[in-house]
Subunit: 471 residues, 2 copies
């Protein structure tokens, strides 16, 4: 299912489909999407307690997420590994020492995003890449086709992994008490670790690689190590966290934090068109990740390029650096300001959200159900967003409910003029024509939902506001 | 976890707990409850397509449910097997030929229900009992302690089964097209099978034991056979069903059909009190099914006997037969008419249901979330039901949403005077004091929901009404 290449090619699939968008809109099932919590349920429960209280723990005390199963990984080694990553990344890798991790964002020659991942520099010539199957495939392809002295090993998500296990366990420790728990859990006390730096520490008698990061404004840590040591490290973290209200987070909570902290995962990779990528499509498989995109939402175009996004659309404008030679640089430099959309949070009108709910009662019309906490059903989701006068101003993507905010939120890409906090917009919820043929989408009617533009990340902005109100 | 007996006893647990209701209300996690679809997710997905369309298929075309994993089974053999079942069952087994199955309902000496199951008479002296762990344990205990020449073998639900598999696969084929699909699937054509009779047929090259039953008014069939033949039989059924709109049903749909057809599964067994059952409690384990009841809902009494139910409360008054000697007979014969509650459907007021939903938005108060399609969170659930003047009139148990009806429905046991269709009652939704400590119940406030009494099964009554309107 997620074989990157070999067999019939993605190009063969593209050639065969007259209506590629229609195919992705109706016929495919994405190998991973965040509403499919059943996919990993054998390894991580959808809920340890209940997702509402788990969401609260993420914001109010601390939470431990298990990331050991759903993300693909790659080990890239060799004297040319760094040169390859620099060629791929639109962001600067200039100060990439072996005590750091970096986000890596890769684009097509035309400047459309393929994906983003986190890269650890484990050793001078050894890099560990985590998540974004399309980006790992793109690195893999470039490694094979370019003149790079590198080797590549891949480790697929557990549900698809032929070994039924992974190289590494991976935990995410988050929340306002995460720092204290980490401090207590590390044998001999935790070292000072600057933001996005890594260190090796001992937890539960095991050596653990830790990456210090933070979402929604507080200290967080990503912890990894050999898969067989997962249990010992988890037990030690849970023991240290008991007095700080640490909870384990299930997949429902894990996949619903993005509405608050604002990361836009897994855009449609911009690889389905253009002669310059024919080689790549011929290398990719017709049964792999890219062949099973699952478009969903009210936006329906007959041109797949209308679903492509640029780094600005995803909020990466500030880390895009023209200080090195990378694939897509010329196109991105040439993109006019007016075509650079902005990432925002949309806060959905509560009365309209309630109307979607109450339409489930009675004889109809019945609007597309808003599942909680993850409401989107496309991978990616593209819902039309319009100004009050009806003119299109962008697309809303990931959407869902935050028990912390008591709101339905979505992450959207809007034209600069509409991306100003406080702007009122209208989102079309549900698919045209009674709904697509995607089997997990029930028959439904469309409905217009009013929404207000807000900053991203939403949670942090609220925290700042609260702090400002107190001081 | 579900070991019936051995080790420390249930009596030891009862002796140890000053507040047994408080223990079951706050501290336990039931080994199986219908909202826990994650428990069987490794074997049956929560949704094959989406539960809303799967619910519709159950009503409008046909659905295939997989019952192979969640129900305990027992094989009871020997010259005294029938005599033992007659002693347990409150219903008549008089005409129990080997081409029949029967529902078996067992009570305590005081006439409180322990559980109900389906029994197949496979051979003259061989009976297969399916579901209700408390009833299987009760049969097991009586077989060991009484003077019965029988042998017993047990086969536990897959998640707890040490073999990781089952003796038999089991499918349920339901819906208005189920009869036609069955006819087409059976090699050589299906025989005429009267209601609740069994037959052996050939499907997909395999011999299949079929029980003809029907829920919600249409022909249905339960199909079983050796576990290894599951795949072949399923494929043949799906192939036969394709032109009739047959869908596979996931656990979300499976566990949400009861609101329409009205079966009340798994009452609290009335076994925790009374000297006459001390032997039984000493036989049962302190870590088994009965030790992990998980009471939930707005009704909270300090007397566990307030949760006991009689056959009338569950709607079994019409099959209770005083034509044989059985455990509980004297008590049941003596129960006055006024203490025989009636099983009804409650149709929840749509505006009040919408208010529970909209309380999830904004700053509160936030009422207990109504999860769709299965809303109950106790095993069993006991919500207080009052008349308009506030006087208590009974309890509401299983509750959830039917996309077919566009209603939130519950199954309730009400005093005869309030059990009249059309009566307006008030249900208290949510637990007192901010909610119990049950980990899967989020912090919440209580809310009063108006409801209307309706017949049970609800779906059938609606169908009859519709038929009446047409003819």
């Amino acid at each position: 299912m997620i074989k990157a290449n070999g067999g019939k090619s993605l190009q063969a699939l593209v050639d065969q489909k007259d209506d590629l968008v229609g195919y992705f809109y109706n016929e495919t099932v994405a190998p991973h999407y965040r509403a499919r919590t059943g996919l990993t349920a054998a390894f991580i429960p959808p809920e340890f307690t209940n997702w509402r209280d788990e969401q609260r723990a993420w914001r109010e005390t601390a939470i431990l997420f298990d990331q050991s199963h759903h993300m693909p990984e790659m080990l890239l080694r060799g004297p040319d590994a760094f040169r390859l990553l620099e060629k791929i990344g639109i962001n600067s890798l200039a100060n990439f020492t072996t005590d750091r991790a970096k986000q890596l964002i890769g684009c097509t020659p035309r400047g459309h995003v393929i994906g983003d991942c986190v890269v650890y520099r484990l050793e001078e010539e050894t890099f560990e890449l985590i998540s974004s199957m399309p980006l790992l495939n793109w690195v893999h392809f470039n490694a094979e086709k370019g003149s790079y002295n590198v080797t590549i090993e891949r480790d697929d998500p557990t549900p698809y992994n032929p070994t039924g296990r992974r190289w590494f366990y991976r935990f995410q420790l988050e929340g306002p008490n995460a720092g204290k728990i980490f401090q207590d859990a590390v044998e001999g006390g935790a070292p000072e670790i600057p933001f996005f730096r890594t260190a090796k520490v001992k937890i539960g008698g095991c050596e653990v690689l830790v990456l210090r990061h933070g979402m929604a404004g507080h200290l967080g840590a990503e912890l990894s190590g050999p898969y067989d040591e997962m249990g010992k490290v988890r037990s030690a973290l849970l023991a240290a966290g008991e007095k700080y209200g640490l909870q384990q987070g299930g997949t429902k909570t894990y996949f619903s934090t993005i509405f608050e902290f604002g990361w836009m995962p897994y855009p449609l990779p911009g690889i389905y068109t253009g002669e310059e990528l024919r080689d790549y499509r011929e290398w990719l498989s017709d049964s792999g990740w890219e062949a099973n995109a699952q478009l969903g939402g009210s936006f329906l175009s007959d041109d797949i390029e209308d679903y492509y996004v640029t780094p600005w659309d995803l909020g990466y404008g500030h880390i895009l650096k023209f200080d090195h030679d990378f694939i897509g640089r010329e196109a991105l430099e040439a993109l006019p300001e007016s075509k650079r959309r902005k990432k925002v949070t949309l806060v959905w009108n509560r009365d309209d959200v309630t109307k979607v709910f109450s339409s489930q009662l009675g004889d109809g019309p019945r609007y597309k159900a808003l599942d909680f906490p993850v409401a989107y059903y496309g991978w990616p989701q593209f819902d039309e967003v319009s100004a009050n006068d009806g003119s299109p101003v962008g697309h809303s993507c990931h959407c869902g409910y935050s028990a912390n905010e008591g709101e339905v939120l979505s992450l959207a890409m809007l034209d600069p003029a509409s991306a100003i906090p406080g702007t009122e917009v209208v989102l079309t919820w549900g698919e045209p024509g009674g709904g697509s043929r995607k089997p997990h989408v029930e028959r439904h009617e469309q409905f217009k939902i009013r929404a207000t533009v807000a900053p991203v990340p939403y949670a942090q902005s609220v925290q700042k506001l609260k702090r400002a109100a107190i001081s």
